[in-house]
């Protein structure tokens, strides 16, 4: 069994492919107790795959795992758990319909009957020991993302795991919760646990890790001590394999007429929302997901009528505008769920192009498929969508290319108001840069509402920023107002300065 202080795990020459994609190529890695090791890499670099192999969830095609010098076979999650390896997955492995306690004891072998009261007590003790505040009898579905993560951590602590893997743990957290998590991680490392921290965020990695392993396209490109890292851009360059600009060119544009006005909009979630967007500007709406961004977008984009208050688009009331929404020169919505709301994965790119532009290719009852195909082909070539063939199905496109295809379609409609929701979520840096430049260019002709959880993105693109918390807008200010910008973190946590 694992012994507190000197345990270590060695991954040796691990390779794993999914079809023709090499997720891991010949990776070797050591984990020591008491150390926090960061796996840094872009989406698709193979970080999660490698750690899923260590957690027994996936099997490697080649290579082996050593625990304290002994070869081990993690052919199932059960075997890995027994050896003391636990993982907090990016998508939490919690059963929503069950309680905190039930989730923590799921899969634990201790007798046949469950005594809920006794177990709840155990959870409570464990939680207070590590300073992870939680209600043991609460249902998962009633918990915030931060609380769910605590349940995941408690699960591992309950099993006395010695090797704790965290896959992109900060994505769903507020800045405050992130600080708390980092405290807990340091605490656990101090107590002799080996921690693996998977991330693509440079600042976090630099803050928390002892050692950084940079992965690119399935291979380890560099392993370095945090003290040896001289600059952030050095790390970033290792990660993407080229220089990237963190500052993008933003040409000033003179704001013109108002394209969107929201007046005291309220419903179950939203509380008295007021905002205005002019042609030529980007309004960034930031906040932790689930603070009312969704209902606000759904009302602006015509999915739900305003319950209380008014929405004016190009000066027309919500009812007037959506009664006969014009297909071009009007409103474009770029939803977060690009594989669900924005596209039909089983249709080819021409049909997907026609989803929102069909009125421009209609003659009587007929669709002019030929023209649409030519137009769509031209567009995806201009926007650099790979593969550059309109006859492929939407599902064959990578996330970044699918998003570019959606943008090319929406920009073809020459919108004067664009609502972009998490437009670069899950995209790699190159694709993100492309999308950012496209949005900046679009703002010359249109007003843009940008809803994002990524502050870097909001600050890089926006002319003004509005912070949302629990259905209200805490404040709206220009991105030149550095004093306010420093307070965004507090505002996102509901603390008005």
């Amino acid at each position: 069994m694992v012994n507190g202080t000197q345990s270590f795990i060695r991954l040796e020459n691990i390779s794993k492919s999914f079809g023709s994609v090499h997720a891991n190529r010949n990776i070797s890695l050591d984990l020591y107790s008491g150390k926090i090791k960061a796996l840094l890499g872009e989406n698709g670099a193979g970080k999660s795959t490698l750690m899923s192999i260590l957690a027994g969830k996936l099997q490697p095609d080649q290579g082996r795992i050593w625990l304290n010098g002994q070869p081990v076979d993690f052919s199932s999650t059960k075997a890995a758990i027994k050896a003391g390896v636990g993982m907090v997955y990016q998508h939490f492995m919690l059963v929503d319909a069950m309680t905190v306690t039930e989730n923590i004891f799921l899969g634990q072998e201790e007798g046949f009957l469950i005594k809920p009261k006794k177990l709840e007590h155990q959870v409570k003790d464990l939680a207070s020991k590590y300073g992870l505040d939680i209600d043991p009898s609460a249902r998962i579905s009633a918990l915030s993302m931060g609380e769910r993560q605590r349940v995941e951590i408690l699960k591992l602590l309950q099993r006395q795991s010695q090797f704790l893997i965290f896959d992109e743990p900060t994505t769903v957290l507020t800045p405050h919760e992130t600080t708390q998590l980092f405290e807990a991680l340091k605490q656990m490392a101090h107590q002799g646990k080996a921690i693996v921290f998977i991330s693509h965020k440079l600042d976090e990695v630099l803050e928390i890790a002892d050692e950084i392993v940079v992965l690119r396209q399935g291979s380890v490109v560099e392993t370095l001590n945090v003290s040896d890292v001289t600059s952030k851009s050095e790390l970033a360059q290792l990660m993407v394999g080229r220089e990237i600009m963190f500052q993008i060119e933003k040409q000033p544009v003179e704001p013109k007429q108002i394209v969107l006005r929201v007046e005291s909009l309220s419903d179950d979630v939203l509380k008295n929302i007021n905002l205005e967007v002019r042609q030529g500007e980007i309004l960034g709406i930031v906040g932790v997901a689930g603070n009312g961004q969704k209902p606000l977008i759904e009302t602006i984009c015509g999915l739900n009528p305003p319950r209380q208050g008014k929405v004016f688009i190009f000066g027309q009331s919500w009812n007037q505008f959506f009664a006969h929404r014009p297909w071009d020169g009007a409103l474009s919505y770029i939803p977060e769920d690009r594989q669900g709301l924005a596209t039909c994965l089983g249709l080819d790119l021409v049909d997907n192009f026609l989803l929102t532009t069909r009125e421009g290719f209609t003659k009587g009852p007929w669709l002019m498929k030929k023209q649409a195909e030519e137009k769509a082909q031209g567009l995806i070539e201009t926007f650099g969508v790979q593969p550059g063939d309109v006859r492929v199905l939407a599902r064959q496109l990578s996330g970044g290319n699918l998003q570019k295809m959606v943008l090319s379609r929406e920009f073809y409609r020459r919108p004067r108001l664009i609502v972009a929701e998490q437009p670069t979520q899950g995209l790699d840096i190159a694709a993100t840069e492309d999308i950012w430049n496209l949005l900046l260019k679009a703002r010359e002709k249109a007003g843009v509402v940008l809803i994002t959880g990524d502050l870097t993105e909001a600050l890089a693109l926006s002319d003004r920023v509005a912070v949302m918390y629990e259905g209200q807008i805490m404040d709206t200010f220009h991105t030149s107002d550095t004093e306010k910008i420093d307070q965004i973190g507090l505002m996102m946590a509901g603390i008005a300065p």
């Binding site: 758990i81 939490f92 492995m93 919690l94 929503d96 004891f105 799921l106 899969g107 469950i114």
Partner: protein, 306 residues
């Protein structure tokens, strides 16, 4: 309505509700593990035949009842093979199972049509059957009815207070989480299919060993489908399943009695009653429950590695 009409009607409701109860409990068990089995009607028919033939050959209705369950589990294992072994579509496989089960029972049962076998007869439970009203309705039946009283609370406790029950629920709600927690998803789902199939088979055997002691074709007469609907009505709760099963048993018994009184309402219209009620119940539960109580991963296959 006089007590003299009502009491026997309620007693009959319990009796004709019992096979539906067994089947509903079986389907709840299977669905809790995330597997949708629409083959209940076929499984019931095969269970009924296996029970009948065993009792006829051995003279032991108890053995017949138990083997009826085994036949149910055996036919259900075909569903497991298709859905767990080969990731087949659960709806299609279930429907095929219904057709197969009914056809097989009809074919194999042909030599026995119109024959009888020894079955179960009512035994009054001393003291309990003396309780006014309740005694006559609930404690004046055959032993299989009494057995069926114990199963819903047992199942309720199983799902709530046992480690295995927790496991079955977890693989039905979020198999990935169950696997990440070290559980065998495929193993638990096999258990869900086999135990569920066994219970459904018992429901079938009840029909040929206690409800009648005769063999005829089409003995289950749509009760399997009613059970599928009752699972939704019960919000996957075994205790509520008993309420639903007796409600349907009541309607079935009522329409039989109404026919016997020589009413002018056409008998085919009366025969339709339980199925009409099924539709109403489904509409009601969908409106009330909005499907929120369904196991989240119901009908969704998992990869064999999990």
């Amino acid at each position: 309505m006089s007590l003299e009409f009502l009491l026997p009607l309620l007693a009959a409701a319990v009796q004709s509700g019992t096979p539906i109860l067994y089947a509903t409990l079986g389907e709840i068990f299977t669905e809790k593990s995330g597997i949708l089995n629409l083959g209940i009607e076929g499984i019931m028919m095969l269970g009924a035949l296996a029970g009948f033939v065993t009792s006829k050959v051995t003279g032991s209705p108890i053995l017949g009842f138990l083997l009826g369950g085994c036949a149910g589990a055996l036919l259900a294992s075909l569903h497991g093979l298709v859905c767990l072994g080969f990731q087949g579509n659960q709806v299609v496989s279930g429907l095929a199972l219904t057709i197969l089960g009914i056809g097989l029972a009809d074919y194999l049962g042909t030599p026995f049509i119109g024959q009888d076998a020894s079955g179960f007869s009512p035994i009054s439970i001393p003291i309990l059957s003396e309780i006014p009203l309740v005694g006559r309705v609930f404690f004046n039946h055959d032993p299989l009815v009494y057995t069926s009283y114990i199963i819903p609370p047992l199942m309720w406790i199983f799902f709530r207070y046992t480690r295995w029950g927790l496991g079955v629920r977890a693989v039905g709600e979020y198999p990935e989480a169950a696997y990440a927690g070290g559980l065998s998803v495929i193993g638990y789902r096999w258990a869900g299919i086999l135990v569920g199939g066994y219970l459904v088979g018992l429901g079938g055997a009840y029909l040929s060993l206690a409800y009648t002691h005769l063999w005829t074709n089409g003995l289950s007469a749509g009760r399997g489908w009613i059970a599928v609907a009752l699972v939704i009505f019960a919000f996957w709760n075994p205790m509520r399943a008993a309420v639903g099963a007796y409600l349907f048993g009541g309607v079935m018994a009522f329409q039989l009695r109404l026919q016997a009184t020589g009413t002018h309402i056409p008998s085919s219209l009366l025969l339709m009653l339980p199925y009409g009620l099924t539709v109403i119940v489904l509409v009601f539960s969908s409106w009330k429950g909005q499907g929120l109580d369904a196991p989240a991963a119901l009908g969704i296959n998992v990869e064999p590695s999990e």
